[in-house]
Subunit: 322 residues, 2 copies
């Protein structure tokens, strides 16, 4: 269902929405972050929260009632914690929208509205979950408070998927180089800022730890200077996801430091793929996560080939109950 | 100045507060998290945000105006990003409260109100920054929306400092054992949930990476099952900060998994130190971070002694410009 239409229908039922609450687990939680970040930055009245699902289930915010929109996401639609959160939010009277790729999955059956996204079909299809969440955030803001750059966002959505696919296809040789250089790394740190903060998080906890069993840590590139940077030394491995937008200065300050002390540094820079040449500066910040996610996916794939460790290989997930 | 009085004075000037925004860097950012978490969980109308200072400076939220209270923290009061954020928030018309231990420091001079806390005098003195931030959050909620368990929180504040000091003094032998077992660990993961989530974060990025130059990663113990747990194997080092309260089940699920696969596991459990025997179950969640911070400090000190690496030793901070 179309994000604009969903929010229009909710508004017809409830003109007084106070809170927007994003709930997911792991990569699906991280995929909701750009939407949360957008509202955090641009709303004047709407409350915004973002929880891992069991946090929502066990310490449910008092704001969950008919004045709340709860947006949940689960790739296969069966993540138990997220299914529970979806049902709980609905039972408490919230307007619940789920994002999943699986029709008739438990998460979809527990929600008021569901947006189905694609996933494995292409690099850009993998971005649809993140993109639809962001579109929902933009619609909520525009319909409830108004949003000056709404048309710029619409233009952005019309460009980003093609741009991301094109960028992903252009980086294979860089990604192969990265894979050779990092294949034996004992640990890999990942950082970014702005709307891309949780792309760094998902890269660390999912692509590195979950899918490659590589030790990893992650933090905001602004926080880098307030603790983590003391770990920097020659050849310590870092991945820096650089934004094209207002927080670029934060990322580039981190890059300067990494280069100065000869850390092993790989940069994925949205500027290299022309993000701000097709998307307005008014809104470019919010499209970095999608572009960078597509590009880094290729890096992760090449790493998995060189290490002969498929991204789908697991020790515990899908193998046992926990 | 007294938190209750500060909020009373702000309310006399501005009855329509919409947003509460917490801003800091590193450990000072993390120390604001319990206050942010409290409002996230208990407010129905107040917007709540939490930023590392340069994120606030470069991508300043549109909500920063005379309807916002901005709370900033910096131990020495000179952190450049936080000083800038404090000045910026004030220039934009927000009501700005700073937390620092240094009288007449730049952060204090840029704020409308300052609360001075102690720091090195005792384990509990180190908790005052976190405690005052939480008291401010409680006062804001109670004075602007009302809060059912206000008296329980007041009782909690009257008990927590003594309890934390007592707990810290009781753990020296356990801490020595931890130090022996972890002194050569190639990496140490730290996790928690609830209000203690960013105590885990600060333990990882400050106590481990910054102060011991030990590789580290951190995540919410609910997120553990959605990525990070694939790194678990026999003897992989973890620290689990267990809460006494609503999110305990999340932490104990992680513990069960760590034990099942024989990870090297150290647990700091608020239950062991009698938190809920002196603080009401209605509010116990919010006092875990203070107790656990005090206890783990002893562990970090013992680790630093065994490794002959003082907690104050730095490669870059205080040594060069960056």
């Amino acid at each position: 269902m179309d994000p604009k239409q969903i929010i229009k229908e909710i508004k017809e039922k409830q003109d007084n929405i106070k809170s927007v609450i994003f709930v997911g687990c792991g990569a699906s939680k991280a995929d909701l972050y750009p939407a949360k970040y957008f509202l955090d930055n641009n709303a004047k009245n709407l409350r915004v929260s973002h929880f891992t699902a069991n946090e929502f289930n066990y310490a449910t915010p008092v704001a969950v009632d008919e004045t709340a929109i709860v947006i949940t996401a689960s790739l296969g639609g069966t993540t138990p914690e997220t299914v529970e959160a979806t049902a709980k939010a609905k039972a408490m009277g919230a307007h619940v929208i789920s994002l999943t790729r699986c029709v008739n999955s438990p998460i979809a059956n527990n929600a008021d509205y569901t947006i189905y996204h694609r996933f494995a079909e292409s690099y850009s299809a993998k971005l649809e979950k993140m993109g639809y969440a962001l579109e929902l955030a933009v619609e909520i803001l525009n319909q409830y408070e108004g949003y000056e750059y709404y048309e710029d966002m619409k233009t952005g959505f019309s460009k980003i998927y093609d741009l991301a696919d094109k960028a992903a296809k252009s980086v294979v040789s860089d990604a192969k180089k990265f894979a050779q250089e990092y294949k034996d790394a004992p640990i890999i740190y990942v950082m970014s800022s702005g709307a891309t903060h949780e792309v760094a998080y998902a890269t660390s906890i999912c692509l590195m730890m979950e899918m490659q069993w590589i030790n990893s840590g992650t933090f905001h590139s602004g926080e880098f200077f307030h603790g983590p940077f003391e770990i920097v030394d020659k050849d310590v491995p870092f991945i820096l996801l650089m934004n094209d937008g207002r927080t670029r200065k934060i990322d580039s300050r981190a890059l300067t430091f990494l280069k100065r002390f000869e850390a092993k540094t790989t940069v994925i820079d949205a500027l290299d793929y022309g993000l701000s040449s097709v998307i307005s500066n008014n809104v470019v910040d919010y499209f970095n996560p999608m572009l960078i996610t597509a590009v880094f996916r290729v890096y992760a794939e090449e790493l998995s080939y060189v290490r002969q460790h498929p991204l789908t290989k697991r020790r515990y997930m899908w193998k046992l109950e926990y």
